[in-house]
């Protein structure tokens, strides 16, 4: 029966992917097209938070720092060292994963608010480092002239879509696997997990490493999309926005993460006609969505499927 549920879940992903794949075919004005690309790029970092927060229960408010690490690694390699963009695109997430693994070490001892403060600190350290290491990063002037991995914007869109789809499928598989279960056990009860043989430290480190890898990948795509990097794109407020997208998507749902990333990325642009009151309305809409998201969220939908499945089981059980 688990398989049927899996198929339904995977099909939701396929449906989302196919709908998105139609966008370049239909033809969308280039700015809106860019926003959708940014939404998908954000989806990757939100999925990274789904793994870290939704599964493992480790709250990070420093993911903008990891995004920056990925973005600047890609940018600096391509601009200053003339590295082939594809190779830079591979190095960036790996390097970010190493930095993120360092962040995992304090999580062995720190929990709750203490860990959150540590992650905020990491985010700030990275941002301030970028701001002041002018020779390497361009400091407040930013890093310009970053070549994209693919110059054709439609092909770039499909590349991002394929990456997001692959990550979504992989994350869904991870979720139901031994590793996913160990993550969830850590979230719910570290002592129980440890006593049942889960090496809690190792798995926390793994969660931080996977999450940082994805954050770095998202950063490399960001650098590739914008062609320009500036420390202002990686502030605490950005980390908070990623967290918001994660919570909005139902915390541990991959399709939810994708949809909420697209929605929250697009929302300020949709509201742009409101000019000054834009951010007020933006915040208000988000509050309303969070208030009523229980009725909307994909978690609810998946629960619906699960319930249906249980009923079938009961019928079968009664017949035996």
């Amino acid at each position: 029966m688990g398989k049927i549920f899996d198929t339904i879940k995977n099909n939701i992903l396929i449906v989302i992917a196919l709908l998105l794949a139609l966008i370049p075919v239909i033809g969308v004005p280039s700015y809106q097209f860019y926003i959708i690309e940014r939404g998908l790029q954000n989806a990757i970092i939100v999925i990274s938070l789904v793994i870290l927060l939704g599964y493992t229960g480790q709250l990070s408010l420093g993911h903008a720092g990891l995004l920056a690490t990925g973005a600047y690694t890609y940018g600096i390699l391509v601009v200053s060292y003339n590295v082939n963009p594809w190779i830079a695109f591979l190095i960036a997430p790996i390097f970010t994963a190493l930095i993120g693994a360092l962040l995992g070490i304090p999580s062995f001892k720190l929990t709750g608010p203490f860990l959150v403060v540590t992650t905020i600190a990491l985010g700030e350290i990275v941002r301030i480092l970028i701001l002041n290491w002018e020779k390497l990063t361009g400091g407040p002037y930013g890093l310009t002239g970053i070549t994209s991995i693919i110059s054709n914007s439609k092909l770039m869109f499909y590349l991002i879509l394929i990456i997001v789809y692959f990550i979504s499928v992989a994350t869904s598989r991870l979720s139901v696997s031994k590793i996913g279960l160990a993550f969830k056990a850590i979230k719910e009860d570290e002592v129980a997990a440890e006593v049942m043989g889960v090496d809690v430290k190792r798995y926390k480190l793994l969660a931080f490493t996977i999450s940082s890898f994805l954050a770095g990948l998202s950063g490399a795509i960001f650098a590739s999309l914008t062609g320009y990097l500036n420390p202002d794109s990686f502030t605490f407020a950005d980390s908070a926005t990623f967290l918001l997208m994660t919570v909005l998507g139902g915390m541990s749902s991959v399709p939810g993460a994708i949809l909420s990333s697209l929605a929250v990325t697009a929302l300020p642009e949709i509201l742009r006609f409101m000019a000054r009151s834009r951010m007020v309305i933006y915040s208000l809409v988000l509050l309303l969505i969070i208030r009523y998201s229980k009725q909307l969220s994909s978690v609810k939908i998946s629960k619906f499927f699960l319930k249906k499945k249980n009923k079938e089981d009961l019928v079968v059980g009664g017949g035996e």
Binding site: M1, L181, A192, M196, G197
Partner: protein, 255 residues
């Protein structure tokens, strides 16, 4: 040689000596009881054996190895599983997944195989499913396997914890007050489950206040008070032991 042996085990919390030079032995195939008044240090003994607390002195030897230097997950790998006094199941996961957690150390799938959902992973999932269903049959939770655990009644959550522990294929199972909070019928059922587990070659060390339960199951009972062993022997022997009676009922003219 004993399967589990503690030699002069000491655990202190600040000035309080919770476990005081305790010597225990659990032989292979035995069901041992550990009893004593509230606060006598029984649960602390289990926590030291499973590595949740580090001991302050003495040794824990399991299967010929000193395990007090190991971490809890390593101790689990050596073949000790346990349940908790106040159940520690994963409330928001299904019953099935709770038992699956017990199979953690036996599951070999790595990240690569999981991501690409290789044949190895699919075969392993199938193998695991059979083990889990078998364990759920032993404790009588087959029908509830897809339920979210926190929706189960207390008694079922308790036996679920036992199912989770036995799929880990331990040599020794530690049960911390398994019958607490269960009604008479549930307790009877639990005794049957524990006997079944012993038949599978798993030795058991259990803490329990329910004396009918201890008397009906154990081969040997240790009585501790203030962390010190005050008696050991069969249940019938310790029942007559004056120092045990004194601890539980007080001496004449004590009031």
């Amino acid at each position: 040689m004993a399967l589990l042996e503690t030699i002069g085990l000491v655990k202190r919390f600040g000035g309080l000596t919770a476990v005081d030079h305790l010597d225990l032995q659990v032989n292979e195939g035995e069901i041992c009881g550990l009893i004593g008044p509230n606060g006598s240090g029984k649960t602390t003994v289990l926590n030291v054996i499973t590595g949740i607390y580090k001991n302050d002195g003495g040794k824990v030897i399991f299967n010929g190895k000193e395990i007090h230097i190991l971490t809890p997950h390593e101790i689990c790998e050596h073949g000790i599983a346990r349940t908790f006094q106040n159940i520690r199941v994963l409330g928001s996961q299904t019953v099935y997944d709770n038992v699956r957690l017990g199979l953690h150390i036996q599951t070999k799938s790595d990240l690569f195989n999981i991501i690409f959902n290789t044949k190895q992973v699919r075969e392993e999932n199938e193998r695991i499913r059979k083990i889990i269903e078998e364990a759920l049959d032993i404790v009588g939770l087959r029908k509830e396997k897809n339920e979210i655990t926190k929706n189960l009644p207390y008694g079922k959550q308790k036996v679920l914890e036992i199912a989770r522990a036995i799929v880990a294929k331990p040599k020794l199972l530690l049960l911390d007050e398994p019958a607490a909070g269960l009604n008479t019928a549930e307790t009877e059922n639990l005794m049957e489950i524990v006997r079944n587990i012993r038949k599978r070659g798993i030795s058991i060390l259990l803490i329990e206040h329910e004396m009918a339960f201890v008397g009906g199951l154990t081969d040997k009972v240790y009585v501790i008070n203030y962390g010190k062993k005050i008696a050991e022997g069969t249940f019938n022997e310790i029942k007559k032991n004056p120092s045990v009676i004194q601890v539980y009922l007080g001496t004449k003219g004590d009031e």
